[in-house]
Symmetry: C2
Subunit: 207 residues, 2 copies
DNA sequence: GAAGAAATTATTCAAGCGTATAATAACGGC
DNA sequence: GCCGTTATTATACGCTTGAATAATTTCTTC
């Protein structure tokens, strides 16, 4: 019985493939479906190889979580334009594809359920979360200042907590049961709510 | 070696104890920590007994999820008083103990991550979720009507989606990192946001 | 093209899993 | 106070899990 043939891949590529395979497994059948054997299978390698690149299964899960968080936050950190457009864009991005879809939620929820158990995951989580809220707070401060409104730290903090909560909640609902909402209904609701909260219009064309 | 002694418990009590033990295990170490043996251990019985009361491990998890959802929603469904007070109370309840704490989140997140995998859990979830949103929508309609405001179905729907999202998100943040927020800070923020959204004050003393 | 390094496979292990079945002890009815 | 019912324990089975180790193939370098 001949050994199966294989090719040696660059370390970065192999690690990337293994993490992608891990995410696929989790998205498809949850954390308990992400066994070393399943992951290896999907990546087209044998189980032993995983432990050649990662100390343990825990470690590959941690690195996979970093990737998930990065994808959930990177898009939003790259908004461009004037303060109006940036704030508006931030809201839209977080409530539409590819940030908002059922796969994202599956991944997020799977990891969240381990955050309270695994301190390492908790650290990764907090870092991503605080970064997200800080970005939103900066956006708000900038926006309010440009409009000549009160941009005091206390107010920005309150507003960013509220808007962050709103976005989280709507994102969750949209991912969980997107078919219950009309096309871009959640985006409209989010924009209207933020406008009511700020007492200002978010013009789409304020260039 | 003598057999260990035991006492025969009424069916309802034993089922209740087994489900509580299941929730304890999940809250403490996640779904993968809730093994038949661990659950039995914590309930002070032997593993075999679990299958005397539940067809399978899947079934005990489903019933445990029903309990979790019931606890997250039952408190809010029992608000009393005039429309003002009821809406206000609904908000407060959902952002304070015992609905909002890290244990609730652990349980919720553990199950949510299985909702996309197990159709039976998905059904249980949807039922609880829709009930919650309907309750909120009814509360809103009542409140707006009492104030003589526009209480059209379309408006109530939009508002309830927004407020539901806000509450979900703030609940999540509070549970995940309660120490980042001041005492009742999230409640204040939620109330202020809802007031801005409705364009009305939620007086605490409008009896 | 031979040699050496190391990436990859193959195989094995002990532990833990959910489940099944048989033995037994507790309790209610008589 | 015995007796039948059945809740509960005890034991065992087959399977999967994460991990460890040894064998082998690939690729680079000279």
């Amino acid at each position: 019985m001949p050994r199966r043939t294989f090719h040696r891949a660059p370390e970065a590529e192999r690690r990337h493939d293994l993490i992608e395979a891990t995410l696929d497994c989790i998205a498809e059948s949850g954390l308990e479906g992400a066994t070393v054997r399943q992951i290896a299978d999907r990546a087209g390698v044998t189980p032993g190889l995983i432990r050649h690149y990662f100390h343990s299964k825990e470690q590959i899960l941690q690195e996979a979580y970093r990737v998930v968080i990065a994808r959930l936050t990177e898009k939003a950190s790259r908004v461009a334009g004037n303060p109006d457009e940036r704030l508006r864009e931030f809201i839209v991005i977080n409530l539409t594809e590819p940030v908002a879809n059922s796969r994202s939620l599956s991944l997020w929820a799977s990891f969240i359920s381990r955050v309270s158990v695994d301190p390492e995951l908790a650290a990764i989580h907090r870092e991503g979360y605080l970064g997200f809220r800080d970005a939103l707070e900066a956006l708000l401060a900038e926006f309010l200042a440009a409009r000549g409104e009160d941009a005091s730290p206390a107010r920005c903090r309150s507003l960013s907590i509220a808007i962050n909560g709103l976005l989280d909640g709507l994102w969750l609902e949209g991912c969980l049961a997107g078919e219950l909402f009309g096309e871009s209904e959640l985006v409209s609701i989010a924009l209207a709510t933020v406008e009511a909260l700020l007492g200002l219009r978010l013009t789409a064309d304020s260039a």
